[in-house]
């Protein structure tokens, strides 16, 4: 018992020290010393120091002095900007509102789960920000949320400050419900064809224009009664006004091209084509419109419309001047985006820095946050990863991941904490509430049995008697 107490106290002290080390750096300066820095903007800098002040990159150079800064010795190590996943469903308690074909009234920001362990695992893979998207059940889906992965922090601190709002669109099999069964008693949802999908989108924008006109009339005094605020159409008006980014899921190039033609018709730009497995077929048309593409680097063949891609997709798009990013769309793949970037060097020969940009600066551009993050440059947020070796090597791993200059993942500390978590688990598993139903409160039950049960007593008894 005495020993247990002692180890418990040591555990608490250790936890406090670790917590102080990992999380209490807000406001303190950090100096990363002697690293190979892949800036994702201005080439690779050898034996370079990075000074972080107030969560921002303050200086980049050699032999920087900062007497009060916490020093991370990165000799022999590599530093990159924090990776950004332009297509993720992490942190979402619900992903699809599949009842209607147009669900621009729903918001992913309403259903964020900051306790999702995917966040921590992503940090361990060097990911510091993500575009959290509605699913692909509808031609026009819900609103997105761009977040920084500040694991352990309150919800409000996750939302990327100043990130332009976005919305999910989707095309193809998922939208026309090709692979889902109709519920008994329900009719098949419109649209059931790719043709119908385009009609739904066009119709929604015509309605959005009408809606805008109603408000314009009211604001200019033409009408007396305030129009109804319509949460479905408001975001579409923002799209028309260029204030909201469209992230459009699609596989086939004909559909992505059709969507861009609709966008031309209504005078807006599609921000990103998501997945774009065949985007290489329409690379010039995409480049011409300044639309970005966010793809899987080498993942295909899992359904009919996903057959016609090639691992050279990223290379061809890049060669045509398209801003390309590589996304995960998965809680598992989100941990290896660095290797996805490496593959673009193998297939086609994308230069190293351009490859790195595909998981850093390019997604930042596509999400409109490249002024804040995505590269290692003075003045940007200190979203930084220290890697044990070159990030494109499968033998390397993220050692330290920082968001706004704060460490949210540290491999050494993670390893050290495992013993402590094991001890905590052992202690917790012995608690009555954590015992299986049959074993709970055994001790108390025996004591009870020795004595006469009181008469007609709905009031008492131990919780332990619940079997």
């Amino acid at each position: 018992m005495k020993r247990n107490w002692k180890s418990l106290l040591t555990g608490i002290a250790l936890a406090a020290m670790l917590a102080a080390g990992v999380f209490a750096q807000n406001g303190t300066d950090v100096l990363i010393r002697n690293a190979t820095v892949l800036t994702a903007a201005k080439g690779t800098l050898e034996n370079t120091d990075i000074l972080i002040t107030n969560g921002k990159i303050a200086r980049i150079g050699k032999n920087l002095r900062a007497p009060n800064a916490k020093v991370i010795d990165a000799t022999g190590k590599f530093v990159t900007p924090g990776l950004i996943d332009c297509h993720s469903h992490a942190m979402l308690d619900s992903i699809n509102e599949g009842s209607y074909a147009v669900t621009s009234m729903v918001r992913t920001s309403d259903v964020l789960d900051t306790t999702d362990v995917t966040i921590y695992r992503a940090l361990a893979g060097g990911v510091t920000a993500a575009n959290l998207l509605h699913g692909s059940a509808n031609p026009i889906g819900g609103l997105n949320t761009v977040v920084k992965f500040k694991y352990g922090r309150p919800m409000a601190e996750f939302v990327f400050p100043g990130a332009p709002p976005g919305i999910k669109f989707a095309l193809g099999e998922n939208v026309k419900r090709a692979n889902s069964n109709v519920q008994p008693g329900q009719s098949r949802r419109y649209p059931a064809t790719r043709m119908g999908t385009m009609e739904v989108i066009r119709d929604a924008f015509i309605r959005a224009k009408d809606y805008k006109r109603k408000w314009d009339d009211f604001k200019s005094g033409k009408t007396k009664i305030e129009p109804r605020r319509d949460l479905e159409l408001e975001p579409l008006v923002e799209v028309l006004e260029g204030k909201r980014l469209v992230h459009a899921h699609g596989y086939r190039s004909d559909e992505h091209l059709n969507l861009m033609l609709i966008a031309d018709e209504f005078g807006f730009k599609v921000a990103t084509l998501q997945h774009g497995l065949e985007a290489y077929k329409i690379a010039p048309e995409i480049a011409q419109r300044g639309t970005g593409v966010s793809i899987f680097v080498d993942y295909w063949g899992y359904k009919l419309e996903a057959y016609d891609t090639i691992p050279y997709n990223a290379y061809i798009l890049w060669k045509n001047g398209v801003v390309v990013s590589l996304n995960s769309d998965s809680g598992e793949r989100i941990r290896r985006l660095n290797l996805d970037a490496a593959k673009t060097m193998k297939y086609g020969g994308v230069p190293e820095e351009e490859a790195l940009k595909m998981v850093t600066l390019n997604p930042a551009k596509q999400l409109g946050v490249d002024k804040r993050t995505g590269s290692i440059e003075v003045g940007k947020d200190a979203d930084i990863v220290v890697w044990s070796g070159h990030p494109f090597s499968p033998y390397s791993h993220a050692e330290t991941t920082m968001v706004d200059g704060e460490v949210f993942f540290d491999r050494k500390q993670d390893l050290a904490r495992r013993e402590q978590l094991k001890a905590e688990r052992e202690r917790l598993e012995k608690l009555d509430a954590n015992l299986p139903p049959g074993k709970r409160g055994k001790k108390e039950a025996k004591e009870d049995d020795k004595e006469e049960k009181p008469e007609a007593t709905p009031v008492p008894t131990k919780g332990g008697n619940r079997k």
Partner: protein, 547 residues
């Protein structure tokens, strides 16, 4: 040991069977020589409470016993204010679950003029659904509860809750406060109608509040000057939201996790709603914000406990789950310390013993007994705005009282009398001997439910056949339940109830042991009742094979 258990079972059984036969009278009473926990004032170590015409006439150490009062000797007894369950579904008949994916609510026979689907109708009131009848309240009243806040737990807008006393000839007589608050659950609608996702639920709520705000404006405009203006359509659903937007009627959000509570508070802020939290399992994590925004918590004492049976090859439970079960009993003390207002409720607890066991656990984790009592009495009354009428033992207040042999926090304590609106409910004495008898009687003897029953269990959208073999010994039943879906499983906690039988079986579903609770009403050789499963409720019916 068996004898002890069977005697205990018998005792419980008798409480249940006699519940409906108990005499309930209004008159004048004097409880003398009792310890009186007034809650509003200091504890009176030895005193008298006089009850007349449904009210507390006087209370104190030196109170004279009126000549016409029936005297209850309170020697060794403690008198408390009647307990209040701050969130319940008592008194509201359960609507049978609709089959999943069935026809939408609009296609079914629907008598409402609301244009919104069922589940998004804030105009629905609990008060209009309450059925009077003493028996349904027996187990809770016998445990010391005199008052509950009741509201159906269904839909996104659950409707408007009513505070009721657990006795009365009619619903009208029972209601202490109708339509206290609107209740909101962050859940989806059934049958494939929007919203089918949590995201959609928030969109639906937000759009309705926006529409209600606009509707109120237009109604106002029309009220002031109808000339030349098209008469606005009336909308009973939106109009039920106007008092919420004006802050006249509170909104109780069912929210347990930290993020659910944040979502509730954010939504309340967005529309200026007067928010309350119900459930509140992780509310200590937001104690600061709850205090700052003056949001009281209707705190469930349904503490989470492991339900998985032991299995060597099972994955270990997540650390977060283990931590949560350890932390939840500390929640009440933490809220108290942070200055957050709270009252207790029974949550999903079926067994009132667990309510008190968990209250004791809260006390063991730092809450004072006085604060625990307060959370079951006066604090609840204050939250519901009826603290001038009830919640403490003071002259002039409603005579809602519970008389306990010993102390409420003593495990061996037992309730001897409950007064609801001055009506006395005496706990029945132990009967001399049990006898086999036909089901449905109220003579106090257990019914005969033994035999082989062919059951059909009807979870939404399916029908499962099952065979139930029951052996009866007095008020206890043992036996087994078998079905094509699971092997023969022994019954646990088998008992004869007031009008049938009840038992629990643990069914193995893909490595997870689920507790399934059956509660059936027997009429001759027919049985029908409800099945409570972790996946949701179902109904069952069956017949007994003649011997």
């Amino acid at each position: 040991m068996n004898r002890v258990i069977s005697r205990a079972m018998l005792a419980v059984l008798c409480v249940l069977t006699l519940a409906s036969a108990m005499s309930a009278q209004v008159g004048s009473y004097a409880i003398t020589n009792a310890k009186i926990v007034t809650v509003s004032g200091s504890v009176i170590e030895k005193g008298t409470v006089v009850i007349r015409n449904g009210l507390i006439e006087s209370v104190g150490a030196g109170v004279k016993v009126p000549a016409d009062a029936k005297v209850l000797d309170g020697e060794g007894m403690t008198v408390y204010p009647g307990l209040i369950d701050a969130r319940s579904t008592l008194g509201i008949p359960q609507t049978p679950p609709r089959p999943q994916g069935g026809p939408s609510a609009q296609n079914q026979q629907d008598e409402s003029i609301s244009k919104y689907p069922e589940g998004l109708r804030p105009e629905v009131t609990a008060a209009s659904k309450i059925k009077a009848g003493e028996a349904q309240f027996a187990s809770q009243r016998n445990a010391g509860f005199t008052t509950v806040l009741t509201i159906e737990d269904d839909g996104i807008f659950n409707g408007q809750s009513a505070l009721i006393n657990l006795a009365g000839e009619s619903a009208a007589e029972m209601i202490v406060r109708p339509s206290w608050a609107q209740h909101v659950s962050f859940r989806t609608l059934r049958g494939g109608n929007f919203p089918t996702s949590l995201m959609g639920t928030f969109a639906a709520l937000r759009q309705m509040f926006l529409d209600a705000r606009r509707h109120a404006k237009i109604l106002d405009m029309y009220e002031k000057d109808p000339k030349g203006m098209k008469r606005p359509d009336r909308d009973i659903s939106l109009e039920a939201l106007i008092p919420l937007l004006k802050g006249d009627q509170p909104v109780v959000f069912t929210a347990n996790t930290e993020r659910e509570i944040v979502r509730a508070l954010d939504l309340a802020k967005e529309f200026g709603l007067k928010a309350y939290i119900s459930g509140g399992q992780e509310s200590w994590k937001l104690a600061g914000r709850l205090k700052e925004e003056n949001v009281p918590v209707l705190l469930s004492l349904d503490f989470p406990k492991r339900t998985l049976s032991e299995h060597k090859e099972a994955e270990p439970e997540p650390l977060d789950t283990l931590r949560l079960r350890a932390e939840v009993p500390k929640n009440p003390a933490r809220l108290k310390q942070a200055g957050v207002k709270f009252a207790f409720h029974t949550g999903e607890l079926k067994n009132m013993r667990e309510f008190f066991a968990n209250a004791r656990e809260a006390v063991a984790n730092g809450l004072s007994e006085a604060d625990a009592i307060r959370a079951m009495t006066l604090s609840a009354a204050e939250i519901f705005g009826v603290e001038k009428q009830t919640g403490s033992i003071e002259a002039g207040k409603i005579a809602n009282l519970v008389v306990v042999k010993g102390d409420l926090f003593d495990e061996k304590a037992s309730v001897s009398h409950v007064f609801v609106d001055g009506r006395e409910f005496e706990q029945p004495k132990r009967p001399e001997r049990p006898a086999g008898n036909a089901a449905g009687n109220t003579s106090g003897a257990p019914a005969n439910v033994a035999g082989t029953w062919n059951l059909t269990i009807e979870p939404p959208g399916q029908t499962i056949g099952a065979t139930l073999v029951v052996t009866q010994q007095g008020g206890m039943i043992t036996g087994s339940l078998s079905s094509p879906l699971f092997p023969s499983t022994p019954l646990r906690d088998g008992r004869v109830t007031a009008n049938g039988f009840g038992f629990t079986v643990t069914v193995d579903v893909g490595g997870t042991a689920l507790d399934v609770v059956f509660d059936g009403r027997v009429t001759g050789n027919e049985v029908e009742g409800t099945v409570d499963t972790p996946q949701g409720p179902a109904v069952f019916r069956g017949t007994r094979t003649p011997r």
